[in-house]
């Protein structure tokens, strides 16, 4: 290793029962292969968290290899099936963030496949050696490459005349009735914001206060974020929800954050909401205009249009960038991050009492709001919402640094839909996609 050629450092996470034993077999058979791989042994691919891959990249690994038992051969029955699903998504995410996919390797090597292991290590080493060292450290931009910018084409928003006012009246009547009935202690809805053309969450607990509540095109916040929190006043909480907000509730039901009977839902038939003077991008192609879970549904929805989702165009443009451009695109955005965690606070599905970002022993996410810390935070945030994010847009709206977090979330939602035919927030009885598997899940990326 004292030669002039670049000798990459490659971390291999392998399972104890198949690949580790296969690597032993390559040794007993005296098969020769390059000395660049460092094996870290774990009991099962099920234990090999995708975040280990991120950690290795953060620590400067030039390449990462993950290997376990072939499907059907897992010592623990299903660890590799669960792992396969996780890698499917995580790999796409890293790719989208600009990590060269050629540096990540996934394989099934059985205890009998010593030859496969030896060949694999040779190929992995050769590939990474040819790629050269990583062009920048974790969270640092690649020198000499511009950070591309994206522009959006706003879709004009036309509020249907009169419908909001009638709906608002019916909603207030319902809210009054609920509060008067006694079972409901708090109604969470919207009130006029400080500035004209804004709305903000409002908490009312008496019928008299209800008149503060409004309903208009500015009510874009997702009030489901309050659903799983303990109310200050006794009694149930009633939430004013749009159909998209309801999807958060579905997620919360799936994850046992609350029971359906804990909350009353005042469903608002939807006409789309406004963001920065135009139709909110997530509303453009929205097909779900009428609440499905809500107890009463108020009003008639505007029928969905055939408009394309403008954000998909943005995602496509990011995907067309070269990896280094993509990387710099994201570093450009993440460099503004203050680690204020407003995105987390706004998210209706970030319900952990102690976020992984705050776990000090061990440190998953570097604490300082610098390149590495910010990148790791946003990767973990997006990863933890994969298969769960319901695309309410609250995180992006809350971000004071205008980081387009929705792009990352939406991309992963696409991956989940394509790979597992699953959409978050649709069916409370469905198993979340990362807690289940199919034996025939696609695995083209695994060699």
């Amino acid at each position: 290793m004292m030669s002039d050629t670049f000798e990459p450092k490659i971390v291999a996470f392998v399972c104890n029962w198949c690949t580790y034993t296969g690597a032993d077999l390559a040794g007993t058979s005296r098969m020769q292969y390059p000395a660049n791989v460092r094996i870290i042994k774990l009991p099962c691919t099920g234990r090999i968290s995708p975040l280990f891959i991120m950690k290795a990249l953060e620590q400067g690994a030039d390449g990462v290899l993950v290997s376990g038992c072939h499907p059907g051969d897992c010592h623990y029955t299903a660890g590799n099936y669960h792992a396969r699903r996780k890698y499917t998504i995580f790999r796409e995410m890293l790719h989208f963030l600009g990590v060269e996919p050629e540096r990540l390797f996934f394989s099934w090597v059985s205890a009998a496949e010593g030859r496969k292991w030896a060949d694999l290590v040779a190929e992995v080493t050769d590939t990474v050696r040819r790629l050269g060292p990583r062009r920048s450290a974790w969270g640092e931009p690649v020198e000499g490459i511009a950070a591309p910018r994206l522009s959006a084409n706003p879709v004009p928003f036309e509020a249907p005349a009169g419908t909001f006012a009638a709906q608002a009246e019916a909603m207030r009547e319902k809210a009054k009735a609920l509060l008067a009935g006694g079972e409901v202690g708090t109604v969470i809805g919207y009130e006029q914001g400080t500035l004209p053309g804004t709305a903000r969450p409002a908490f009312v607990s008496t019928p008299e206060e209800v008149d503060r509540l409004v309903w208009n095109e500015h009510c874009h916040q997702n009030l489901a974020v309050y659903a799983a929190r303990k109310p200050a006043k006794p009694g149930k909480v009633a939430l004013v929800v749009k159909p998209c907000d309801e999807r958060s509730l579905v997620g919360l039901l799936q994850e046992n954050r609350l029971a359906r009977e804990d909350v009353v839902l005042i469903g608002m038939a939807c006409h789309g909401v406004q963001s920065e003077g135009a139709l909110a991008p997530r509303c453009a192609a929205c097909q779900t205009r009428t609440p499905a879970l809500a107890d009463p549904v108020i009003g008639e929805a505007t029928p969905p249009t055939a408009t394309a989702d403008p954000r998909l165009e943005q995602i496509a443009r990011i995907e067309q960038m070269a990896p280094a451009e993509r990387w710099n695109f994201w570093q450009g955005h993440f460099s503004r991050c203050l680690k204020c965690y407003a995105c987390r606070a706004a998210c209706s599905l970030c319900t952990c009492e102690r976020c992984l970002a705050e776990k000090a022993q061990p440190r998953w996410i570097p604490a300082p709001p610098d390149g590495a810390g910010n990148l790791s935070w946003h990767a973990v945030r997006a990863w933890h919402l994969a298969g769960r994010c319901v695309d309410c847009g609250a995180c992006s709206a809350a971000c004071p640094a205008d980081i387009p977090l929705y792009l990352l979330n939406l991309k992963l939602a696409q991956v989940v839909k394509d790979a597992f035919d699953y959409e978050a927030g649709r069916d409370p009885a469905a198993a979340p996609p990362l807690t289940t598997y199919r034996e025939d899940d696609a695995q083209e990326f695994i060699r």
């Binding site: 290793m1 004292m2 450092k9 971390v11 580790y20 690597a23 032993d24 390559a26 040794g27 007993t28 005296r30 098969m31 020769q32 292969y33 000395a35 460092r38 094996i39 870290i40 042994k41 774990l42 009991p43 099962c44 099920g46 234990r47 090999i48 968290s49 280990f52 950690k55 290795a56 620590q59 400067g60 690994a61 010592h75 623990y76 029955t77 299903a78 660890g79 669960h82 792992a83 996780k86 994850e255 046992n256 954050r257 319900t351 952990c352 009492e353 102690r354 976020c355 992984l356 776990k359 022993q361 061990p362 440190r363 998953w364 933890h384 198993a431 979340p432 990362l434 807690t435 289940t436």
Partner: protein, 663 residues
Amino acid sequence: MARVGVFICHCGENIARTVDCARVAEYAATLPGVAHAVDYRYMCSDPGQRLIETAIREHGLTGVVVASCSPHMHEVTFRRTVARAGLNPFLCEMANIREQCSWVHEDREAATAKACELVRLMVEKVKWNTALEPIHVPVTRKALVIGGGIAGIQAALDIANGGREVILVEKGPSIGGHMAQLSETFPTLDCSQCIMTPRMVEVKNHPNITLYTYAEVEKVDGYIGNFAVTIRKKARCVDEALCTGCGECQSKCPQGKLKTSVIPNEFDLGLSRRPAIYVPFPQAVPNVPVIDKEHCRYFQDGKCGVCQKVCPAKAVDFTQTDQVVTEQVGAIVVATGYDVMSSGEYGEYGGGRYPDVIDGLQFERLLSASGPTGGEVKRPSDGKVPETVVFIACAGSRDRSHGVPYCSKICCMYTAKHAMLYKHKVHHGQAYVFYMDIRAGGKNYDEFVRRAIEEEGAVYLRGRVSRLYQKDGQLIVKGADTLSGQPVEIAADLVVLATAIQARPGSDALAQMLKVPYDGYGFLSEAHPKLRPVETNSAGVYLAGACQAPKDIPETVAQASAAASKVLGLFSMEQMEREPTVSVVNERTCIGCFDCERVCPFGAIEHREIRDRRGNLLKVVSHVNEGVCAGCGACATTCRSGSIELRGYTDEQVFAQIAAVGV
């Protein structure tokens, strides 16, 4: 501050040839936290091990890294070594510098450098190791066997004869299962009931066996060594203690009059009729009748009650109700057996419309001396002795389109037996067998099939039957013989379909109750197809017989005995020791989303309620049952808040290794 000892093994020349072991030891000594580093020719030899023991004592080591061969080779050895020196065995780690270094690299420089790094990785890991104590689980030394066929009977007798108590639960009114229905068995042609009945009686009389017939397992709680099983004993309406088995009730039951009864006899697969109060067959164990309430006049319209009046022992009790009992057991053997696919499944074979198209089990009853025809082969429609019989193998098996894709394994053999026994009973008759392949692997099996062909004159035709239909009191069978490349048409008096062996309906529900994986057909899955064929992934639950896959009697009995020996092995200790490398939940940060429960293949995640001092429920969190956890770590990976750790492979330990690579 950690005080790690590093021990570099030369393994003779095996490591030392390509790795400069002295230099590795020198390097190791420079690592932070390393208190002692040494190389030696054979670390696993007695003097090598003593060297480690001495160093632990002399240097007050808090952790040990042995750099030598694969841990699969000597991890146990070195853990014992450090334990002898008073150090917790889980504070010892191995760096694999032989199989994964010296043997796969030729360049001495590169290999030595890699060996140094591998040592560094393990030194960093071992600093985070903690002392782990083996988990002790108490064992209730009593077994539950579910299913009273030959598999369950064999397993129960073996366990009972090994001196342990057994509870045998059978769904039907008698034990015996399918084997009691068979006529004679291949390849020896010994009478099935003659070899079966003594076993059944032994079960009944064995002091260590509690027999619950007409009973079903309703609920299984707990884990290996500590199961609580809820069993429903259905109401027989006949007091088992009082009944003498005289049979008076059956013979007087008005529903059972030979000419008028409409109740199909399940034991004869509908080929005969039975009364509403009945013992399924004369050799039944227990020899106590049961009332079929659906057909009993007393239960249907309150009239009759003849059986109660005629019973000399006053054993008939219409007021009896189901009883639910709970039993504590330490191990469970599942022996629920199989069913055959109905012969009505195939539209092209009449779809159940032709009475003279029957399945293999029905033909067994026609052959059996205790069967509806007294052992004379007579066809169901008109009682005529069939002069031409067509046997169709693979009816439903190996048919991914209409049936099941797998091979049912026993049909080749029993079809040859059927052809042979038919010939023994109807000397002038002709048997034709349509088959695709003959699968007769087994002691004296192929010889048996050859005998059917060569000596008993069965005509074997290699091909499937496309369809059959009824005409003029016969069945026109349209098949093919692919060996001669032509279609074949046979006018038969009786057609016997060797229908596919299927899992019992409801086996999936039972599997879920026991947390045993099962395949797409409802067959229960063994833990490993080769090396753990009778265990399941649910610790303490074992499989016997056809509930796992189609099997013949010798295989079933062998597996039942194997399951029994596993149970007896488990019961040889009062306490069971399990590896402590299991998951543990941080109950403070767990929010109870139970995603861990969804990914756990072993059902080891339990719900635990957290209450304040006044008993108010604060939250419900995950809890790992250490007796059940197998230590795969899927839960730890899935937990978003990082509230689950897998002992021995904690995040700290992995991070330390990753960081050590990057240096």
